[in-house]
Amino acid sequence: MNRDLALLIGILVSLFAALLLWIFYATLVGDPVARLGPLALEQLPASGVSHPVTAVLLNYRAYDTLLELAVLLVALLGIWSLGPAPSGFRPAGPALTVLANWILPLAILTSGYLLWVGGHAPGGAFQAGALLGSAGVLLRLAGHERAGLPAEAAQRWLVVAGVAVFLMVGLLLAAFGEGFLTYPKAVAKWLILLIETAATLAIGATLAAAYVGGRPPGIRSPCPSSESPSSGNPSSGHARS
């Protein structure tokens, strides 16, 4: 890209930023508008959890979270459709082995803690899932080719678990006469915990699998002369997912 064009783009972007700043300032000094925050805090006792962010994510805006899990799944399917994963890392030396042996159990424990604490304090499925995913990254860096995830078939079940449990709860509620994802107050806490547990596992597995960067490496089969098994017969993969 030549220099003049870069400068021109810079000037245009600065003008755009100045416009945004002016709008932001006008919004701040203008009349206060009705916001959703007070409403969210007011309805908190009816939501089944006592932490407002979790209530927004899993109760008021549950549709949004469901579709967001679907977006994660689509991103992973995109990565898997690009072909087999690149090769893994060399086996870990003694120092990294000890480090991984210390950090992995702690990460799993902390992720369970974050999941549980999400009901009444900052924490929840996304943080716990991200932590699990990072633990998977560390495991892959330490030489585990599949980032600690199970074999391909089980991995597919794991990554759809979030969306599947979410949908199942919603459909069951609809079948019992409540609205789709409208939790009855008595069981709201447990339904949210169920969905969050599945979502944590799914987010962790999805992020770790996304780091692997391709279809899950399995046992390496000797290369056949015609086509590799992973690229052949695409319908079998779809049937299982």
């Binding site: 690149p86 090769s87 893994g88 890392f89 060399r90 990294l96 480090l99 950090i103 702690l106 990460a107 902390t110 974050l114 604490v117 304090a121 900052p122 924490g123 943080q127 932590l131 990072s134 990254v137 560390l138 860096l141 330490a142």
Partner: protein, 87 residues
């Protein structure tokens, strides 16, 4: 000076030292220098978070420090590891 103000002042001091350490990330010169500076950022960040947790009365910030401590090793590991097929 009240206790929260003392904590905040200490956090400010740590923040200034972290900013000084960040210069090492910017000027380098070797990638290892940059990586070590990023690690230093994570370590002092835990200190700032714990102090802020007391100063702002938000105990959840200690959990953020916990995550920092757990995952500090991941990026430096990613920096040093080699793949099977690399020489």
């Amino acid at each position: 000076m009240s206790m929260p103000a003392v904590f905040l002042a200490l956090a400010l001091l740590l923040l200034v030292t972290m900013t000084a350490g960040l210069l090492r990330i910017v000027i380098g010169p070797s990638p290892a220098d940059r990586m070590m500076a990023a690690q230093l950022l994570g370590t002092s960040g835990i200190g700032v978070l714990v102090l802020l947790a007391s100063a702002l009365e938000m105990p959840a910030l200690i959990d953020v420090g916990l995550i920092f401590a757990l995952l500090a090793a991941v990026s430096v590991t990613a920096f040093t590891r080699r793949r099977i097929d690399q020489d």
